[in-house]
Symmetry: C2
Amino acid sequence: MDSHLFSVDYFKKALKKQIKKNGNRLTPVQSMNSYYHSVVSAIIQDKINKNFELIRRIRHLDEAYQAVNEEVLQKQQQQQ
Amino acid sequence: MDSHLFSVDYFKKALKKQIKKNGNRLTPVQSMNSYYHSVVSAIIQDKINKNFELIRRIRHLDEAYQAVNEEVLQKQQQQQ
């Protein structure tokens, strides 16, 4: 499997893509929450993986969420 | 620990409370996604628990999300 898959960088890119895609109708946080829900839901319904691996993926997603959220907040402050 | 805590019913009540609380400014799905993110984030950052227990809690939250979302959709269809 691609080692990049489910990495923090992988999720950061995916979150930014979602924010851009929904830019007209959702706030960045709303976009990220929507993506977060759908990904966690898919991860924990995956019965192939071990619990450790599921938790690792969700932790990466969570770390990426926090990083992108920080970037969004900084951009918003610069624009004010 | 209260056995009700982190049960599906516990999360269903919490999700409904959030929807009601944010009723003026967020859609039901936006409220639920926001709650889902904050709870999963808190659960996976909890280092006391075993991975199995973390996954169990997230699965309960996810099951509750789907149940409440179904109820919301049914209500919306009845109102149309």
